[in-house]
């Protein structure tokens, strides 16, 4: 069992922090040693940043919150899914009882409560089922000049709907970003396909699909 007591903040975590907070932590050497509290008393008397939302109290809470480190076991189904992404494949499972395709895959069907062990591969082509033009990031200071298109993709041939009411009961798909289209022209129902990173750049991550792009000649 892996157990570790980290002695410093990880570079990955620092990258996720608001820029001012990360700079403050590094400037005061707080990234070097967890539990180091030299200067803590004096730091309570000043604000570490000009960003209004971040007061010194938040700094203290954030400082300790950072010391929560986990690894997340992907599990049997999701591990195979990530391995597939690394190899440029979108893998899913199909429930032989209800016929649903599950992407990302599961080893059980929550509708039928049965084991699922039938694996399928999907090319990743589909339609945009819903989308938003996002001008904001998780860093409170960030505002994008050009919006990012965030969309939910429904993969071809996986949609189960009630024909009479057009109510969609299930669709295999994923949340991702869409590029290669004028934001004003993106629309629900637009046909898209995955754009993969180069094989040597893939690591077994959802980001191995760099983005989804419109299918040429698609609606």
């Amino acid at each position: 069992m892996t157990r570790a007591t980290p002695s410093r903040f990880s570079p990955n975590y620092l990258q996720q922090l608001p820029e001012d907070l990360a700079k403050y932590i590094q400037r005061h050497g707080l990234d070097k040693e967890l539990g180091r509290l030299e200067g803590w008393a004096s730091s309570t008397e000043k604000r570490y940043t000009e960003v209004e939302e971040w007061q010194i109290d938040n700094l203290i809470l954030t400082y300790w919150h950072i010391a929560c480190m986990y690894r997340h076991s992907a599990g049997a189904a999701f591990s195979r899914f990530l391995e597939g992404l690394k190899n440029g494949k979108i893998l899913g499972t199909r429930c032989e009882n209800c016929g649903r395709v599950l992407i990302p895959p599961r080893i059980f069907c929550e509708w039928c409560f049965k084991d699922v062990d039938k694996w399928v591969e999907h090319p990743g082509t589909g339609i945009i089922s819903t989308y938003s033009l996002s001008y904001i990031g998780t860093d409170p200071r960030v505002r994008f000049e050009k919006p990012v298109i965030v969309a939910v993709i429904w993969f071809d041939g996986t949609v189960k709907a009630v024909n009479s009411s057009r109510t969609v009961l299930h669709a295999a798909g994923m949340l991702h970003k869409v590029y290669g289209v004028d934001p004003e022209k993106v629309h629900v129902g637009m046909r898209v396909k995955p754009v993969w990173r180069k094989p040597e750049e893939r690591v077994g991550s959802i980001l191995d699909i760099e983005y989804f792009a419109p299918v040429e000649g698609g609606a």
């Binding site: 010391a67 080893i107 059980f108």
Partner: protein, 367 residues
Amino acid sequence: MDIWIAGVGEIPCKPSYDGMDFREMLYNAAVKAYFDAGITPADVDGVVSSGMDFYEGVSITDSYTPDQVGGRLKFNTLVSNDALNAFIHGCMLLKTGHFRTILVTAYARASNILNYPEIVLNSFDPYVIRPLTPHLYTVAALDARAFLINSGCEVRDLSLVVVKNKRNALRNPSAAFAENTSVEEVESTEVVSEPLRRGHVAVPCDYAAVILLTTEKGLGKVRVEAFGYAVGSHSLDFSLKAWGQSRWARAAIDMAFKQTRRRRFDFLEISEPFAHSELMVLDALGLVRESVCKTLRDGGFNIDGHLPVNPSGGCIGMGYPLNAAGLQRLVQSVNLLRTGRWESCLVASPDGEVVDGGAAVMLSVEV
């Protein structure tokens, strides 16, 4: 209104379930529980999940629970702290009369936590405790020292608890740390924080359990006779903590006694993150005439003693599944009661490693 346990399911304790995620762990436990109960997810009215987001590293864990336990599109709620609280919450939902069958679930992925001591540190006061960065084993050691002084027990008694529980665990296929050990072996382990040695500490483990509760006697295997829950005097900064005492245990059992005439139990299952935790709870419960340490030394708490304690092996013998410890104890209790050897038991579980709070549940099989 009588409440029954219709079925239980668990996956064995392991240091790490590397091949499964928490959903797959829970699904496997749930499949066993449904099979044991002879019902399907269609028969379940709601789900109560036990969860501690700090342990899981995922916020609002309960939202991610129903799918894998057959709880899709059903009532669902999360109860924090030890899983015995979730179980009691499930019982109370049934007592409202609005539910017929409730599924209670808990899991632990201790192997996912890379800095467990610091995770626990987050539960302490940020101004007067956290800056001192005490390890939770050190905080527990303060409890242990105070208990030994208060009770007249000795460090050797802590080792006796470990030997008893690890040997009991040899009979339990779900136990990860069963061992035919000796007091000398336990006392040869390194000191983690005096008076605690490494051997006195239950090792965190991965685990998942599901229990199906029902008001239908026809489905019932074991009856839930009574339950109680109490929080002692404590504060984030420990200024109000009653060191060396588990005051919650007495209050919880008193609450339960109001629901039943039973005052004697065939065995006890007590979650013990540390060896002294078991003795502290026993001391507070006051179920033995002589002192806890004398009863322990005389073998009274052994599996063939007059009041067996943790015949399953407890957390020290099975592994400590963090907040799932309470459900771990309940599943073992149900399994032990169904062997036919015993007819009643008391389950007690503290709300955490060093928390003065916890719950008690009384179970029985009808003869």
